[in-house]
Amino acid sequence: MWLVSSSWVWLMCAKLLVARLATRKSLLPQRLKLQSYDLSNSVFSPDGRNFQVEYAVKAVENGGTAIGIRCKDGVVLALEKLVSSKLLKPGANKRIATVDRHVGAVTSGLVPDGRHFVSRAREESSSWRNMYKSPIPVSTLANRMGAYVQAYTMYNSVRPFGITAIVGGWDSEAEHEVDGQVGVGPSTGAGGKVEGEKHGGPFLYMIEPSGSYWGYYGAATGKGRQAAKSELEKLELSGNKLSLEEGVKAAAKIIYIAHEDSKDKEFELEMTWVSSLSGPTKGRHEEVPKALREEAERIAKKSLDEGDEDDAKMEE
């Protein structure tokens, strides 16, 4: 009995194997073949696209809106943190991360991917500090992170990051850059200071799943990015006139506007900022103080309500 049944199983196995081999060789329909370009990273489609990266962008498009504004005296980062459960503690589970003293990062898309991104950014900035004994320039950090994210588009053993990251920071304008410095050095002559030289300032970058990154006056990503972008354009940031405090208020308003399309979902506004050494955060990336954030939120809500009233009037 046993012998009979086992040989039957054996036969079935062999049949299956043959069937599989056949599919793999030539019986694969043309349609399936096309689709296989998107199954693996590091494979281009005939028209030169990497589908995996494009799908990663889709993942970002579902995330809560994140924006960054580069003001004349600092940078603001803001996030529409969608509340996935009423059982979560309000104000906990912060999503905008401090990368180094002077740099912050916010991501939209897959949250765990964002955390890995932040952890790598922290490693980069701390290794820079170890090597050069000074804080990493924001542009360098953006470059390093861009290269890191890009590497995840090239190997078939990995998938790209399902996030778009906004990195903002303040490069110190002060002279003493090397920490633990002994002495101030010569004031003139060889090794002396060049007079009138300006260093530092606010910097803002956005890094996409492809690894490409650009410096921005105002950056937006996530679900409400279109609305946010058109609002950012209205601020005329390239004129370098917006103050940090105005930036905070604008950021809150933009997040509220961007949320209009997904009004059914609850959200928390998370905001951080980094100012010049003479500014409120003294060159450090910090959370926007509660009082200021609430004030900004109040103004944002009010202007939204007024907007609704205007719409209503128009209809009349």
Partner: protein, 266 residues
Amino acid sequence: MNHFPETWGRPRDDVYGPYNHGYLQAPAPNQHTQSPIVTGTSVVAIKFKDGVVIATDNLASYGSLARFTDVKRLRKFNERTVIGFGGDISDMQHLDRLLNSLSIKENYQHDATDEEDTDGFSADNVHTYLSKVMYARRTKFDPLWNHMLVAGLDSDDEPFLASVDLLGTTFSSPSLATGYGAHLAQPIMRKVVPDEDAVDQVTEEQAVKVIKECMKVLFYRDARSLDNYSIAVIKKEGVNLKLDEKLENQSWQFAERIRGYGTQVN
């Protein structure tokens, strides 16, 4: 190529003579720090009813040479902790970097502006951290050649003052001084705060005054000291750190009475 893999990639013995195996070996065993090179002298500190005052001069000596005269030997860790370093300056810089990266990592989790968040490091935490670093290094026979005072407020906002040295030895007292200060300044400070109970009677002004007096006495008597100094007051309201102070009201009249060496032999 022959059958002796250890000779591969090396000059042939028959052409260049026998291979000198000593070539790639270090001439002497690896050595750890055996003595400090560029050094800072005393650190002095005293508690008062609302906090702590701490001071060092701004000199880094290379032996008896006054090598750097604008060295900041007081390092602020956060709004309630200042560390004063005596001993090797390069080791001080190393420790400063350790503390910097510690505070950056702390910022990942905590928010300095959040009033409700009191979880950040208090002075006693920083002291414990430093003592573990110092003890671990001495246990490796590779000490960081420093003697430090940690001044600030503990987790209950009470004044905190404690010392760590290159062996990892720790102690705490209402007033503390390292190096020559232990001999010259400590007796002056102990008159003001003989014990912990006396701390409550001392005002900030009194504490600053006695510290300035100590810095003066140290400048008079310690040959590796300077009249430029740094002083910090740590209170609940935060740290007031001044890095470029000058000794005031010096009087060298006492020098006339000194006999037995120099120009006044008898």
